[in-house]
């Protein structure tokens, strides 16, 4: 920590008060949403909370999130939102029109090339929210995800789809 401050003496004041600018913005937004009505007093309170909370918890988050492409991150959220709707219809169809014995449930292993913990968490969460798959475990070295498929006739195709659709995009967001 000491070495970190010596290398950047000019930004240290800003870094001390705003260790996580993105988290501060998120907290202010969250506070405003929680109030459910706009007022200047509420905004001031939100900013105070945003600064105080990030400052108090900054020791728990030594690094800033490694997101490099925010535009792509928002595009990714829209894609996942759409896939969640498709996933709902798909799983509802399976529940209603397929008997338990006819489901081809299986485990698949998804090799993960992402390295940052944040990126792997987002990938695992996305896999759980999207069609017929729940991520259940991570290999001890963090390089493979264990995924349970509700109905997967072809394991290879399911793995390839997860990697192409989500992991490739996440690799651009978290380089």
């Amino acid at each position: 920590m000491g070495a970190h401050q010596e290398t950047k003496p000019r930004r240290s004041l800003l870094e001390r008060w705003l260790p996580h600018p993105v988290l501060t913005v998120v907290l202010v937004l969250l506070w405003m949403l929680l109030l459910n009505a706009f007022s200047v007093g509420g905004l001031v309170m939100g900013v105070v909370l945003g600064i105080v909370i990030t400052r108090m918890t900054s020791n728990f988050w030594p690094e800033r999130p490694p997101v490099k492409a925010w535009g792509k991150a928002f595009a990714y959220m829209a894609l996942v939102g759409w896939d969640v709707v498709v996933a709902n219809l798909e799983v509802s169809r399976l529940i209603l029109f397929r008997s338990g014995a006819q489901l081809r449930t299986r485990w698949v292993t998804v090799p993960v090339e992402l390295r940052s913990p944040e990126a792997i968490t987002v990938l695992a969460g996305t896999i759980t929210m999207t069609p017929g798959t729940v991520s259940c475990d991570l290999s001890a070295d963090g390089c493979s995800l264990l995924v349970h498929c509700l109905d997967a006739p072809d394991a290879e195709a399911a793995v390839q789809q997860m990697k192409d659709r989500y992991e490739a995009r996440l690799k651009e967001i978290f380089p």
Binding site: V91, G100, A101, T128, V134, D137, S139, C143, H148
Partner: protein, 135 residues
């Protein structure tokens, strides 16, 4: 105009209720815990989503004030659903160690983290450099 808005709100509520019902029906119908896990993580998100959109349309269109609590509820739902599903799955694996044989290979030198942990002293280069400095 008011009739159309009321129609939209009712359709959304009925759709949401239908999906919630299907999700709950899946809990009864599907054969074991792991397949049942699929029903609440997915089929119900649209159920809750329908009710939340209906609520936003109702307050914006009929009551004339903007309600954005619903966005917050959606965000928290999307954050918590995968995490709780992951924990339930992991707890299930812990409770049934015999499932370990059914699991596919990791394709790596080490097994799944539920059953195997990192060796204590091997591979120091794999470890987080920030944590390593504390040793």
């Amino acid at each position: 105009m008011e009739f159309i808005l009321e129609l939209v709100v009712s359709v959304l509520i009925v759709l949401g209720g239908l999906f919630a019902l299907i999700g709950s029906f899946g809990m009864v119908k599907l054969p074991d815990l792991l397949t049942r896990l699929h029903a609440p993580t997915k089929a119900t998100t649209l159920g809750v989503g329908g009710a939340l959109i209906a609520s936003m349309v109702f307050f914006a269109g009929l009551e004339g004030r903007l309600s954005i609590h619903e966005v917050l509820i959606t965000a928290f739902l999307f954050l918590t659903a995968p995490i709780s599903a992951h924990f339930i799955a992991k707890a299930h694996l812990h409770e049934h160690p015999e499932l370990c044989e059914d699991l596919p290979e990791t394709g790596r030198a080490l097994g799944w983290s539920t059953f195997e942990r990192l060796p204590d002293n091997d591979e120091p280069e794999e470890e987080d450099p920030r944590r390593a400095s504390h040793h």
